[in-house]
């Protein structure tokens, strides 16, 4: 644990709360296992003593900004999380001047679960080149050593190389155990619709039946609705109690969006997302 | 032989449809099986689920009286998918009925008392069988005061029955709307304000109220100002329900289930939940 970094964050938050510049800090505290981290909301200056930051701080706290609209909030954001802030800014969900962003240089986070702290960095962190937040008001910590660039999509290429039938079977096997707890949606900073298509009754797109076909339709459209919007925090996959490899879906779309539209979500709050714009003369390798 | 499954509705036929307001229809429903029909006994305040097969089911207060009506009657306001499907049904169509569920207004206990009935909008539905029971046993009750409000004059649900109600002995009907129109010569006021203005006496009286929650809350305040105590104030609540049998764990207010312990409650039982913003 980088104590200097933590003192930096605590000191700043104490001041912000005391000055009344914000009424709440969204950060991390130690979880009930005494080992990993969990989201923490500090409302009083004294509560900042509970704030921590270390390699178990995997949660993307930006999710909570949608619950706290209209309040002045300070939020601790890793580089990947900060992309979600840009996403919400771009989509008009939050106002820049109501959020004080405490960006942290990120050395990567490890695989965690309750009472379990892995030795190695999460797969997404192993190839991540984004070490500094893309948007912040205050930058905490020190620039970590650049990680070696690696292939980001080997697992996806592997799925792509299967024949149609096998791909179909592969996904049905993986979507089969889905219990439709919607943790993937609830934890996602990009999922903020007041009414999700999956719960619409009229028209009823999916319905309440929890079965492989319905699960697949849910998962396919969930992923598609995040195409060009998913910032790759992979919180959905971490949250999934049934270990569905959601990152294989999300990163597939990330890869295709990059290829087709040369776009990566959340790198800027200004750039037009791919489905909000078009080019008259573009060949997308599909229609005649 | 499968056991009787409480989730399987009785089949019924739609007998009659009457438009009460632009968005409320009075539907008359008759159970198909004569034995089930004969055994289907219910009291004012109880409810049943109506099924539009293929769309779903939803709970409705039964607005008829077994002594008066051959059919089961429901006042259905079109507000969601099930109610829309019910509105589209025509006489002769099949639908499902599950019930009766819940408790009822203990009208026999209220004999000899003055009755104050306060209803807003579609909230008049469960109060109609109460009023009609009192009218059918007019001598057994004291004065009857009915205060009925709605958004507009067209939304007064039981308008066709007002004449009968007004002409009954020792009975007063006070109507009010939020917004009048050119023909409306009556009151334009909120229900709680009318209650304050009419100021029924709490002595030996029972007030029964049903309507939007906001109306119930404010009416409750006024009734208390007038001296009504919690045990003299009775209401009936609506809630999202999926079973009607205290199983789906959706309609509970604290440890009480609206479907099984209600829908009729005295304020004594539920004021904690109503007073919250």
């Amino acid at each position: 644990m980088d104590l200097e970094l933590i003192q930096q964050i605590r000191g700043l938050c104490r001041d912000l709360l005391r000055n009344g510049e914000i009424n709440c800090v969204i950060g991390y505290e130690r979880a009930s296992d005494g080992l990993t981290a969990r989201p923490f909301f500090a409302y009083e200056p004294a509560a900042v003593e509970r704030l921590i930051f270390d390699e178990t701080c995997t949660h993307n706290l930006v999710k909570y900004l949608s619950d706290k609209k209209g309040e002045k909030i300070a939020i601790v954001a890793k580089p990947c999380d900060s992309r979600a802030i840009n996403l919400l800014l771009n989509e008009g969900q939050i106002k820049r001047d109501t959020v004080f962003i405490i960006g942290v240089y990120c050395p990567g986070v490890v695989e965690t679960g309750w009472n379990r702290k892995g030795e190695t960095l999460q797969a997404r962190c192993q190839t991540c080149q984004l070490l500094k937040p893309v948007v912040y008001d205050f930058l905490a910590g020190q620039a970590p050593v650049r990680r070696t660039e690696g292939e980001r999509y080997p697992d996806i290429l592997e799925v792509e190389s299967k024949p149609e039938d096998e791909r179909r079977a592969f996904w049905l096997d993986h979507f089969g155990p889905c219990i439709r707890c919607y943790a993937c949606r609830q934890i996602c900073p990009g999922c903020y619709c007041p009414e999700c298509f999956v719960e619409r009754l009229d028209p009823m797109w999916v319905g309440i039946r929890i079965a492989p076909k319905e699960n697949e339709l849910w998962q396919a459209i969930r992923a598609f609705h995040l195409a060009g919007r998913c910032i790759g925090c992979n919180e959905c996959e971490r949250a999934c109690p049934m270990d569905i490899p959601l990152s294989l879906l999300n990163r597939k779309l990330e890869k295709e969006v990059k290829e087709l539209f040369d776009f990566q979500a959340g790198l800027s709050s200004e750039e037009q997302p791919p489905f909000a714009t078009f080019k008259k003369e573009e060949k997308l390798g599909f229609e005649e | 032989m499968a056991l009787e499954n409480p989730f399987v509705p009785y089949l019924a036929t739609l007998k009659s449809v009457m438009e009460l307001t632009p968005d409320v229809k009075l539907v008359g429903v008759e159970l198909e099986d004569p034995a089930i029909k004969a055994a289907f006994d219910y009291k004012p305040g109880q409810f049943a689920f109506l099924s539009a097969f293929g769309v779903g089911e939803a709970p409705f207060g039964i607005v008829s009286l077994p002594q008066r009506n051959n059919s089961l009657e429901f006042a259905v306001r079109q507000i969601g998918t099930v109610t829309r499907a019910l509105h589209e049904l025509e006489p002769g169509d099949t639908l499902g009925v599950r019930g009766p569920f819940g408790n009822y207004f203990p009208l026999e206990e209220y004999r000899g008392k003055d009755m104050v009935i306060i209803g807003g909008g579609i909230g008049m539905a469960p109060l109609r069988p109460v009023i009609n029971t009192i009218l059918d046993h007019r001598d057994e009750y004291g004065k009857l005061l009915i205060i009925n409000g709605a958004r507009t004059p067209q939304d007064l649900v039981f308008a066709p029955e007002f004449k009968t109600w007004m002409e009954a002995s020792r009975t007063k009907l006070e109507l009010t709307v939020d917004r009048g129109d050119e023909q409306w010569g009556g009151r334009v006021a909120l229900v709680p304000d009318v209650v304050r203005e009419v100021a029924p006496s709490p002595d030996n009286a029972i007030a029964i109220t049903c309507g939007p929650l906001i109306m119930i809350r404010f009416t409750l305040t006024v009734l208390k100002e007038l001296g009504f105590e919690n045990h003299q104030i009775v209401t009936t609540l609506e809630a999202k329900m999926k079973c009607g049998m205290g199983k789906c764990a959706r309609c509970n207010l604290g440890e009480k289930y609206v479907c099984r312990d209600g829908p009729v409650f005295t304020m004594e039982q539920i004021s904690q939940f109503l007073e919250q913003p």
């Binding site: 990993t36 969990r38 | 499954n5 764990a249």
Partner: protein
């Protein structure tokens, strides 16, 4: 009198059961451990902590058809679902068995849920005592124990030369093979899970309805349905119609009091509109409403929700917090 069953005997017995009825047991599927119908006895996991999901889905399935609507020629018929074969669930932990027994209270109270009741009557439970307590376990604080035989038909406890067999009910006795020898060995001492201060929690909870604690706790909650779906005692459900290829079915599926639209009625009004109100409902149902109706706290201490919650909403911590708040607020 306890009996002894060798490991080979157990395999042979399970094979026999598999021929006669549906056998459900923990099976490893893509890194998960799930209660599934067994096709080969060698697929069964014998050595495990606990399953990913509790066995409740065999009584209250994730999704089931309540009845189907058959119509034609102006005639409509409702065909209720029926229960298939006799079944045995093998490998149920004592905490989960208690969970099933607790679901009986709401589901079998009049008017009883007949499909649930029939499944319950036609299924036998073979329990497996826990050899060790996991860090998230707290069953002994919730009226169960790692070796609690109360809610199963047969309880097996693993020992060096096989399993000590306790035939708890007549249904269990009838299932057992003939010729098992008496067990000379005493039952091993059970492991000791962590303790949680549940004493008096019902009375304490009653006082804390209006505590700001709930809104604060709910800040962190995502309002997903994980905790309810992994819980052996949560039983909320949703019912809807499915029109499909001209066929209409009424379907029941799991739902949870945490999901945002759970209590919202047509027209938009929601009596539990805030995150705090929903989260309080979850814990009040467990710690107050269920005990008030049916005596027991609606938690068996299996610790699944503790382990699975992505944001560490920990019921043990909440019970501790409530006790402290209760002590502060006096009586």
């Amino acid at each position: 009198m306890n009996l002894l069953m060798s490991r080979d005997d157990l395999i042979r017995w399970l094979e026999l059961l598999l021929q006669e009825r549906t056998l459900i047991a923990p099976i490893r599927v893509q890194g998960l451990l799930l209660f599934q119908p067994v096709s080969k006895v060698e697929d069964i996991a014998f050595d495990f902590d606990n399953t990913t999901l509790p066995p409740k889905e065999w009584y209250l399935p994730l999704t089931e058809t309540l009845f189907s609507v058959k119509s034609g020629d102006g005639h409509t018929e409702l065909v209720p679902a029926t229960v298939e074969r006799e079944a045995v669930i093998f490998g149920v932990r004592p905490c989960d068995a208690k969970g099933i027994a607790m679901m009986d209270s709401p589901f079998l109270q009049e008017p009883g849920d007949t499909v649930y009741g029939e499944r319950r009557a036609r299924t036998a439970l073979i329990g497996l005592s826990c050899k060790q307590a996991r860090p998230e376990c707290f069953c002994t604080s919730m009226g169960s124990a790692p070796d609690d035989p109360s809610n199963v038909d047969i309880l097996l406890t693993e020992v060096e030369d096989g399993y000590i067999v306790q035939a708890v009910t007549d249904k269990g006795k009838a299932l057992l093979p003939q010729g098992l020898k008496e067990s000379k060995a005493a039952l091993p001492a059970p492991p000791e899970p962590q303790a949680v201060p549940t004493e008096g929690i019902v009375q304490v909870a009653r006082k804390l309805f209006d505590e700001p604690y709930w809104e604060r706790l709910a800040d962190r909650c995502l309002h997903c349905n994980i905790c309810a779906y992994v819980c052996p005692t949560c039983y909320c459900f949703d019912v809807r119609d499915y029109p499909d290829d001209g066929k209409v079915e009424r379907v029941r599926s799991w739902e949870s009091c945490q999901s945002p639209g759970f209590t919202r009625i047509a027209g938009g009004y929601d009596p539990r509109a805030t995150k705090g109100a929903r989260l309080r409902q979850r814990f009040y149902h467990k710690l107050l409403y269920f005990p008030e109706q049916f005596q027991d706290i609606a938690c068996v201490g299996c610790g699944r929700c503790v382990k699975a919650c992505p944001v560490n909403i920990d019921i043990r911590e909440i019970i501790n917090d409530l006790q402290q708040l209760g002590a502060k607020s006096g009586s």
